[in-house]
Amino acid sequence: MSSLHWVVFSPFLLAIFVPLLFKQFRRIHTGWFVLILPIILFVYFLQFIVVTSSGNTVMERADWIPSLQIGIDLYVDGLGLLFALLITGIGSLVVLYSVFYLSKETEKLNQFYVFLLLFMGAMLGVVLSDNLIGLYMFWEFTSLSSFLLIGYWNERERSRYGAQKSLLITVLGGLSMLGGFVMLGFMGQTFSIRELISQSAEIFAHPLFIPAMLLILLGAFTKSAQFPFHIWLPDAMEAPTPVSAYLHSATMVKAGIYLVARLSPIFAESGVWLWLISAVGLVTLFWGSFSAVKQTDLKGILAFSTISQLGLIMSLLGLGAAALHFENLDDNIYMAATVAAIFHLINHATFKGSLFMAAGIVDHETGTRDIRKLGGLLPFMPITFTITVIGGFSMAGLPPFNGFLSKEMFFTGMVNVLALDIFNMNTWGVLFPVIAWIASVFTFLYSMILIFKTFTGKAQLEKLEKKPHEAPMGMLISPIILASLVITFGIFPNLLSASLIEPAVSSIQPLLAQNDFHVHISFWHGWWTPELWMTIGVIAIGIILYLTLSKWKGIYGILSQRYSLNALYDWILSTMDNFSRALSDRVMTGSIRNYLVYIFTAFFLLLGVSLFGKGAFRLEFGNIAPIGLYEIILAFALVIGSISILFAKSRLTAIILLGAVGYTVSLFFVLFRAPDLALTQLVIETISVALFLLCFYHLPKLTSRKEERLTFKVTNAIISVGVGVVIALIALSSHSQKLFDSISSFYLEKAYTEAGGKNVVNVILVDFRGLDTMFEITVLGIAALGIFAMIRLRLTRRNDQL
């Protein structure tokens, strides 16, 4: 356990104390205690910039399950550090914001901050894990905490729906990703990402390469809300706004992007990788921006905008893979795509974070997020307006904000596709810049809608729940910090290039970055570059579309709701629900007799088929002990007792006969000199007979209820005889052939020397196979509590009805 491990686990540790702090200090907002941690962690991770910018990395190992090569191996390089800084930095701002957003009187702050810290620790684990299985564990933790946070207001039906949807979709992807990880581990005989990268050539040639890649990409696409899995993100907006700003725009949804970036060195040689990621990214980019325009909820716009921006980053990462095929070029133009992806990732976190917080302020101070009700808020909330303008213009790609720079670089990357002559890019690749440009027009459009529909126009105060006013200062601090970062990174982009972008890019493209690679982001590329004219075109067409919005909005009505992806999702869920209900209604009839028929039929068939199918049946009476008079008498007693049970007239007789059979069996144990078994069997028979007597004492007599008397059924007879015969045959066969030496001699020898006991049975129970006993008594305990709960619950329910 190194200090790095403590850092990753510190949010989990603090989460344990949060409920305590909440209870003890009711007058202080719990958020203040939580706030300290991300700030400390942020400062801690800042120190690593020195390490990674000089090209070094840090690796700390801790074993977890060494026999399976699973460990919590933490690895800090440029990419991991960038994400760690985002997680802790945005995390600090979000916690600060939440202190003012969530009231300490009415909200369940103890739960909220536990979930939030759980997420923070898990996300740090995802981006710092070098071991794939460790990464997977943290990955699912982020899905889980996201589920809990979306469902935070669990009294709302929409919250529960959104939480379930996000969990189902992301965990489905996570599971397939685990499959991909296992395949990777199988191909490379290790789960360490770094070791896998070093053998990327062998893995590329392996037949499992493509399946593993597809499975892992499914995980990345579901997590990062890529088309067609994006449908969970808009519903996740039911979460409190700080959560939306943190998980569903700045960090968690970027885990998929992280994964793609992290595994690029392994998979990027493949043409499928390049095509799939860039195409899915572009489709998502277009569909997200197109759908954002029709939204009327502020957070809905932001959700679709996040989807589209994630698609943008994804497509850039996909195109960045092209750089691998041009290793000889001195000026590798395809590196620009990867640089743009990383740069936009940072920019997106800043402007989208500030926009979410501004939307939260509007919601908090007016009581609604519906842009049809909002409007004319500018005189009431000038600071929030300024923040929204900065964030929105940056998102639209206007100078001098950072979004402009990354949008230019994005266009550069897309235009470069035209020069690409691998994987048939020269044919369909033409579409790339076209789609990118159209999507950017819509991006511009929804950014304008977000800003101007909310703050300008006629104020409709009568439709608002509260009288609008500016938010308290504390709530404004976080978005102001983010907005000033938007401007700072816009004017001085090279602040980031050497410290964060270069190390991150070199983690994604380790081979290329070796030969003296430097990032320089410039503001002005000259008049006659396609990027500049594309931007000017975006602004011009965007303004026209905005002004004529009401005239062409009808096209959104063409695609009916019935055929949407959401309807498909709901249809799948309800169909599965109906199917499983129909199935269980059919099978679970509630009659114990039917269940016994299932159990014994399966028993009979499985054992019988495997006994004869595997050729295990054999009869040999060579080495049996001589049969004495006592054995014969006891056997007769057993047979007579068993048969008489069938003809017993009353329950009491049946129970006593059953007891007699049990006692006879224990006499057999006495004959075979197994005192422990005999003793146990005797006591168990005594107790169970007493128990049955106690149970049945109050029940009506058999004769008084005719229908209780079983009629003879052929199928039941076949099943019961069959089970008996199969068991007898198995017992005889196992006696007839000894494939292995008996283990009993080992126990006899070692019982005294190793365990210091003379009763071998007991030594086996408490020592050699003690873990079995441990779990057996656990099961016993669970069974007893189950019986207690079932009977007691039924009793109380009956009492309630009376």
Binding site: V761, N762, V766, I777, L780, G781, I787, I791
Partner: protein
């Protein structure tokens, strides 16, 4: 069942004998037939005998024990004994034992296995009695 004088008189004596015997075979388990499982069952048998001779309420008055807590206690003791290995950095379930010469008992071995077995004993008694009690109360 309310007026079984003979059964009740015999029970008064027999219960103690059964209980003592059950404790004896519980402790002797490591060297002669017996152990926590049989010991626990036999203790339950003694209590069941009481239940048959008297009724649930009387027995609950004589032995005011919450058997569910007994299950939990037993599981905890066993689990801690198993986990003890982790503290001493040996494989789980490793038992320690030593022989002592004690005053009345003479040459005796003290064995951590008996702690584990104590857990088993408590769980078995707890489980049996919980089941019998709940079913008995449910009429």
């Amino acid at each position: 069942m309310k007026n079984d004088l003979i059964l009740q008189t015999v029970t008064k004596v027999a219960v103690f004998i059964i209980l003592l015997f059950s404790i004896s075979i519980f402790f002797g388990g490591h060297y002669s037939p017996g152990g926590g499982f049989v010991g626990g069952l036999m203790t339950s048998a003694a209590i069941v005998l009481l239940l048959l001779a008297y009724d649930l309420n009387t027995v609950a008055k004589i032995l005011p024990v919450d058997y569910k807590i007994m299950i939990a206690t037993g599981l905890l003791i066993s689990a801690l004994t198993v986990a003890g290995g982790a503290i001493f950095d040996v494989p789980l379930m490793t038992h320690a034992y030593k022989y002592f010469d004690l005053p009345i008992l003479g040459h005796t071995s003290l064995h951590t296995a008996v702690l584990f077995d104590l857990g088993v004993y408590l769980v078995v008694v707890g489980v049996t009695m919980t089941i019998i009690q709940t079913i008995g109360e449910d009429e």
